[in-house]
């Protein structure tokens, strides 16, 4: 396979992917008997009326991977930020090696040997990837001058360790979410920290990168580091971690060895009730062709992509990270222009590059990057949720708060958005709850064609089931659903058909009956033949 993937921008990076490996299970053979190197005691933190953490405790030992799980909004990220010195707790103490410390700024935490990968990437778009990794602790030459060459070579070493051929000289702007996440990981590794905290590092990654990451984490663990790992994917949690702490509603619920727990038990503790089955796909009979895409080409990004989605169908678009799935979705929705091809909804051709027209024709897109593309972080939950319907909610061109509030209430109840007040800015919501607001925003438009790009990224099990149920329900009502997902079980569980993209081309179209992990992954890595 030649590595000539089409690229979009001058700063785009081209790289291929290694072979897919299965998760290597197994945990390092350390026995916990040493005192914890990090201990949190009775940490409490509130934001205005929201009690994000109350009396949370946590112990991290050298050489262990400790998983932290909980529903969206349980307080995991808040705990991480407290550890990172980005938030100061209202009460409680942090002990490092048994001594009480005050982490009053991120610099303090770094100095104490704590490296953090935040849930949302925190890169400097204008700076090069290498500079991003070493910002504030670049290798120095004489007279405290930065050694740019050392910077570069060390970045390359780090990427080799992670198995990603990212170019250290390219600017961070324009990196895909996955690549951003990888840079974040490299940044944390570069710290050589004793304590590594990772807040959903895998949410944007596909299997290959996840496996690479895990092998790195295991080697760190063997070298004696303590790792705190947060994820909503239980296979990862159980394959990587030795102990699992469950949080609910800002409180500590339990900490147990992973061996002593089952997925069901963890979910029960997280949610406080039994969760219905995931992927409740009901069979529907496909109706007329709703969305037809023909020969869609955007030079350097994707070429000659054509497919149809029928009413009542859920079609999954699978592929490796960077295969160009999101780009296709954006072009179809009119956010990006395309160079050739045609998009038809219910037989009518859409003007290219016109989002408003696409929406008017009944298209909806739940984008992959909720912070940049999905939400206006400074605006309230209510405004965000009704932004797509502002014309419909207006009377004689006038729009008053009441109509928006009512509409927003309905949908936030339906999706169980956890917020103190609909007037709060969405930036105050937890990641998962933010995702729900994006869903609310688009589902409320009664779309005829719904495109969802990684709809359940960062969403907890309970809500995930709810989202899946919603998608099925919508399909049942005759909506054509195009679902982009990097999670194979989700793809296989939900889709009537699976389209697979590889390097900007649609390589195969597999019906539900024949779709399995093997066939999809082979096609995604460019090794599968025609169906």
């Amino acid at each position: 396979m030649a590595g000539q993937r089409p690229i979009d921008r001058q700063d785009d990076l081209i790289y291929g992917l290694g072979h897919l490996k299965r998760f290597a299970c197994g945990v390092g053979g350390h026995v916990i008997n040493s005192p914890p190197i990090l201990e949190l005691r009775n940490i409490s933190k509130s934001f205005g009326a929201v009690q994000a953490l109350s009396n949370v405790r946590l112990e991290l030992h050298a050489g262990e991977v400790h998983a932290l799980v909980g529903e969206n909004g349980a307080g995991k990220s808040t705990l991480v930020k407290t550890l990172a010195g980005a938030h100061q707790p209202d009460a409680g103490v942090v002990l490092l090696d048994g001594r009480e410390v005050v982490l009053s700024s991120p610099a303090d935490a770094q100095a104490a040997g704590i490296a953090v990968i935040y849930q949302e990437p925190t890169l400097f778009p204008d700076l090069s990837v290498a500079e991003n990794i070493f910002m504030g602790r670049q290798p120095l030459r004489r007279l405290r001058r930065i050694d740019a060459k050392a910077c570069r070579t060390r970045a390359v070493e780090l990427f080799d360790r992670l198995g990603v051929p990212l170019d250290p000289d390219r600017p961070a702007r324009g990196l895909s979410i996955a690549d951003q996440q990888l840079v974040e990981i490299a940044k944390a590794l570069a710290l050589d920290a004793r304590i590594l905290v990772m807040d959903e590092p895998t949410a944007a990654l596909s299997g290959v990168e996840v496996e690479r990451l895990f092998s790195v984490v295991r080697s760190l663990q063997e070298a004696g580091a303590a790792v705190l790992f947060i994820s909503h994917r239980f296979d990862e949690v159980f394959s990587l971690s030795r102990r699992i702490t469950v949080m609910r509603d800002g409180r500590w619920v339990s900490t147990d060895p992973a061996d002593a727990l089952t997925v069901d038990e963890v979910v029960r503790r997280m949610v406080g009730r039994e969760v219905s089955a995931l992927f409740p796909k009901t069979d529907t009979t496909a109706g007329a062709e709703r969305l037809v895409v023909r020969g869609l080409t955007r030079y350097g990004v994707f070429a000659d992509v054509g497919f149809t989605v029928r009413a009542g169908e859920i079609v999954a678009l699978a592929g490796l990270v960077g295969a160009g799935r999101s780009e296709v979705a954006r072009a179809v929705f009119g956010v990006d222009r395309y160079d050739a091809g045609q998009v038809l909804v219910d037989g009518r051709t859409l003007t290219r590059g016109d989002t408003a027209a696409a929406i008017a024709a009944g298209l909806a897109l739940v984008p992959e990057d909720r912070r940049q593309q999905g939400l206006v972080m400074e605006l309230s939950v209510e405004r965000n949720a009704t932004l797509t319907r502002r014309w419909r909610l207006s009377r004689l061109g006038l729009l008053f708060g009441g109509a928006e509030r009512r509409a927003a209430t309905i949908w936030s109840d339906r999706l169980q958005v956890k917020t103190a007040d609909l007037g709060d800015p969405v930036s105050a919501l937890s990641g998962g709850n933010q995702q729900k607001v994006v869903l609310a925003k688009w589902l409320s438009t009664d779309p005829r064609v719904l495109i969802v790009d990684e709809p359940t990224r960062g969403i907890d099990v309970g809500t995930k089931a709810e989202v899946h149920r919603l998608l099925s329900e919508l399909a049942g009502q005759g909506v054509a659903v195009l679902m982009i997902s990097s999670e194979l079980p989700e793809v296989l569980g939900m889709a009537d058909r699976v389209l697979v993209m590889h390097e900007g081309h649609l390589v195969t179209d597999i019906p539900r009956a024949r779709a399995d992990e093997e066939s999809v992954m082979l096609a995604a890595t460019g090794q599968g033949g025609a169906p």
């Binding site: 396979m1 030649a2 590595g3 000539q4 993937r5 089409p6 690229i7 979009d8 921008r9 001058q10 700063d11 785009d12 990076l13 081209i14 790289y15 291929g16 992917l17 290694g18 990172a84 010195g85 980005a86 700024s105 991120p106 610099a107 303090d108 935490a109 770094q110 953090v116 935040y118 925190t122 890169l123 400097f124 778009p125 204008d126 700076l127 500079e131 910002m135 504030g136 602790r137 670049q138 120095l140 405290r144 001058r145 930065i146 051929p165 990212l166 170019d167 000289d169 390219r170 600017p171 030079y299 350097g300 070429a303 390097e503 900007g504 081309h505």
Partner: protein, 344 residues
């Protein structure tokens, strides 16, 4: 893994192009500048006599020094609109100082001017960093306040060339190997600032702050301290510019440097410094300052009617930023199309 080597090469090819583009960006301004000078000289050879060159260099010096300070602030996603007022204050202070002590050594005057500017910078930076408020508003406020202080202090007085020591005024006019002494100050400032921003951690951190303030905070960069320092430096450079102004113009009243702020911002923007922070260099900004002053002095020489001059300056500013943009877009497109031909 056979895919890796070729793709990685491709990647660094593209990034090299990116680098070349950024180099080109400053080259583009330099080119525009050269073009302007050549055309003007063809029309009027006197434009490039030693006297003409000296005038050009002297003319750009003060704006260039201010542009360096402004760049340091702008890369942190802030802006300092008060520089014109700080310059005025420092220039008047220098004059008053010399009136009171005609025998004062010049370095002392320089030091006092720079210190006074730095104090103004402390006011700006202190308010902005401590209260975390938008720089544009604060410095628009201090633009008024510093100017008001200057007015109140001067109360219609004027300091004339005759009031200042000849040695000081001589410095404003003297040349070393054809290069005015004042310009040497500017060159030193540009080189030091440029080198610092590129090769020291704290310099890079300024870019990081401008690129993403929130991320900078989470990375443990002392954002407040750095922004504060950037404003102090900008103030100090404006103070230095004030002393240079006094040396060059000799006549000082409270209006010195009023309205400069827009010129400085224009110079920085023309020089390719992103107004929203994170990228750009002091070399570009200084070139922008030279280009802007050259436009100002070339137009009268070209015989453009005084009524058309202002319009021409505006049109050239638009042309400069438009051209810069067009180059960037074109480069992107070329890259995209070139990959198409070899792509699948």
């Amino acid at each position: 893994m056979q895919t890796q080597p070729p793709s990685q090469r491709g990647a660094s090819d593209s990034s090299r192009l990116v680098h070349r583009f950024f180099l080109f960006r400053e080259l583009g301004i330099a080119l525009a500048l050269a073009l302007l000078i050549v055309v003007t000289t063809i029309v009027n050879p006197r434009f490039l006599t030693p006297q003409g060159i000296k005038d050009l260099l002297l003319g750009s010096t003060i704006l260039a020094v201010l542009a360096v300070g402004q760049t340091i602030v702008v890369v942190t996603r802030n802006v300092d609109l008060s520089v014109g007022s700080v310059l005025g204050l420092s220039a008047f202070a220098t004059g008053s100082l010399f009136m009171a002590n005609p025998n004062l050594p010049i370095p002392v005057a320089l030091l006092v001017g720079v210190l006074l500017g730095a104090v103004c910078g402390v006011v700006n930076g202190g308010l902005i960093a401590a209260a975390r408020v938008p720089a544009l508003v604060v410095t628009l406020g201090t633009l008024y306040v510093f100017r008001g202080v200057d007015y109140t202090w001067a109360t219609g007085r004027q300091i004339n060339a005759a009031d200042m020591p000849p040695g000081f005024l001589h410095m404003g006019n003297a040349t070393v190997a054809g290069v005015p002494v004042l310009t040497l100050f500017a060159i030193v400032v540009i080189v030091v600032a440029g080198y610092y921003l590129r090769t020291f951690r704290s310099g890079r951190e300024l870019y990081a702050i401008g690129s993403s303030p929130a991320a900078a905070r989470l990375s443990g960069i002392p954002v407040g301290r750095r922004v504060f320092a950037a404003f102090v430096v900008s103030g100090a450079l404006a103070g230095l510019a004030g002393v240079l102004y006094a040396a060059r113009f000799g006549t000082l009243d409270a209006n010195a440097g009023s309205g400069f702020e827009l010129n400085v911002v224009a110079a920085v923007v023309i020089g390719g410094v992103a107004i929203f922070g994170g990228s750009g260099s002091v070399y570009g900004a200084a070139l922008g300052a030279v280009l802007l002053t050259t436009i100002g002095s070339a137009l009268p020489v070209l015989g453009v009617s005084p009524f058309w001059q202002r319009a021409a300056v505006g049109a050239l500013i638009l042309a400069a930023i438009g051209l810069d943009r067009a180059l960037a877009v074109r480069l992107t497109r070329t890259l995209r199309h070139s990959t198409r031909t070899e792509g699948p």
